[in-house]
């Protein structure tokens, strides 16, 4: 599978470095290595979800418990989580660190991913969720740490978009 194992490791190590103790996830192609790494890590609580919106509740519970968490999801999972993000995380000022695989953008071959790709950034902007792109493995650690710092300072969701450049090894 051309999902980058090396860059998945870079992302996972970045999460570990900033003290993430719980990861919620719903599998999608680009996330498989990340989820396996969480599964193989005895120090990590991995919660596999039925639907991504549950992850907002799980992360809120973790925050109340004093555990730092991250959410791994596809952008369509982000779309499926909007009410939880707005009426729980934003309403109650819960910090969320969302790592969202940015499917349906340039280079996408799966027709079914394309509509959600076009809606992702406009929705993040509409919800005033700060976001940046993870595309350079050399910058990932700093970007993850900075995103988490902002999430906790603002008590608000933040998003990091996992891009094709980072996650996919085959040339588009």
């Amino acid at each position: 599978m051309p999902v980058s194992q090396a860059n998945s490791r870079v992302v996972y190590d970045a999460l570990k470095k900033c003290g993430i103790g719980l990861v919620s996830a719903l599998p999608e192609t680009w996330l498989v290595h990340l989820i396996r790494m969480a599964e193989d890590d005895p120090q990590m609580i991995l919660v596999r979800l039925a639907k991504e919106e549950e992850g907002v509740g799980i992360s809120a519970g973790a925050h109340f418990a004093g555990v730092k968490s991250a959410m791994l999801m596809q952008n369509h999972g982000f779309l499926a989580s909007i009410n939880g993000i707005v009426s729980f995380a934003q309403l109650y000022r819960i910090p969320l660190l969302m790592l969202i695989s940015y499917r349906g953008h340039f280079g996408e071959r799966d027709p079914w991913q394309t509509q959600g790709g076009g809606a992702t950034e406009p929705l993040l902007q509409a919800l005033h969720i700060p976001y940046s792109f993870l595309d350079d493995p050399g910058k990932v650690e700093k970007q993850v740490a900075e995103a988490q710092t902002l999430a906790y300072a603002s008590l608000h969701p933040v998003a990091l978009l996992l891009t094709r450049q980072l996650m996919w090894e085959e040339p588009a």
């Binding site: 103790g21 719980l22 609580i45 919660v47 596999r48 979800l49 039925a50 639907k51 919106e53 549950e54 992850g55 907002v56 509740g57 799980i58 992360s59 809120a60 519970g61 973790a62 925050h63 109340f64 418990a65 004093g66 555990v67 968490s69 009410n83 939880g84 009426s87 729980f88 309403l91 109650y92 000022r93 819960i94």
Partner: protein, 192 residues
């Protein structure tokens, strides 16, 4: 028919040391009417995620009993959450579902439990190891006691009358509740 408020009154003295998460509407207002405590968090929106919040708490604080007061309308919005709960089976989580077969706070529209959908069966089929449906107060009391004493994930479906308080908005602000709850856990876990 059994009333939710009576059940909450029966549960109230037994959740003093637990972390309690409720759904919005009548459950939140009625529990507050018995007296708010800093270990109570009322999720005043996002129907379906009270159980997920309880699961997150229970997984992160395995030494701490967590009680979720849920409702049929909310559980129906997150049936998949039952499977997530059962999959991780936190031994310290008690899930109480007040089933009044109705979306009461919006005017009493009947939910699917009014036409036969069975949430205890759904929880059991999802893999929740201990489930029970109760229709009387003594049965609720006994089931709640058992669940609190047991060292396993439990789901109690309490069939209750579709009646609620006159008002749903209380004078406890959402953020006040949220920060107080977080602070309470912080202080409590520091002592452990």
């Amino acid at each position: 028919m059994m009333q939710r408020l009576e059940c909450l009154r029966a549960a109230y003295p037994r959740v003093e040391d637990s972390l309690v998460v409720t759904i919005m509407g009548a459950v939140a207002a009625e529990l507050q009417s018995l007296g708010h405590r800093p270990n109570f968090f009322y999720l005043q929106h996002t129907m379906g995620l009270a159980s997920s919040t309880g699961l997150g708490l229970a997984l992160c604080l395995p030494q701490q009993k967590v009680v979720v007061f849920d409702g049929d309308g909310s559980v129906l919005m997150n049936l998949g959450g039952l499977t997530t709960m059962a999959r991780y089976r936190p031994r310290n989580l008690v899930h109480v579902v007040f089933d009044n077969e109705s979306l009461l706070s919006v005017g009493g529209f009947p939910t699917a439990t009014s036409t036969g959908s069975n949430l205890e069966a759904a929880a059991r089929a999802a893999g929740v190891p201990q489930t029970k449906t109760v229709t009387t107060l003594p049965d609720f009391s006994a089931a709640f006691d058992d669940a609190m004493k047991s060292n396993d994930l439990s789901c109690i479906v309490a069939k209750v009358e579709a009646v609620g308080p006159k008002a749903y908005v209380t004078d406890l602000s959402l953020l006040e509740n949220r920060f107080q709850f977080r602070r309470h856990i912080e202080q409590k876990t520091r002592k452990i």
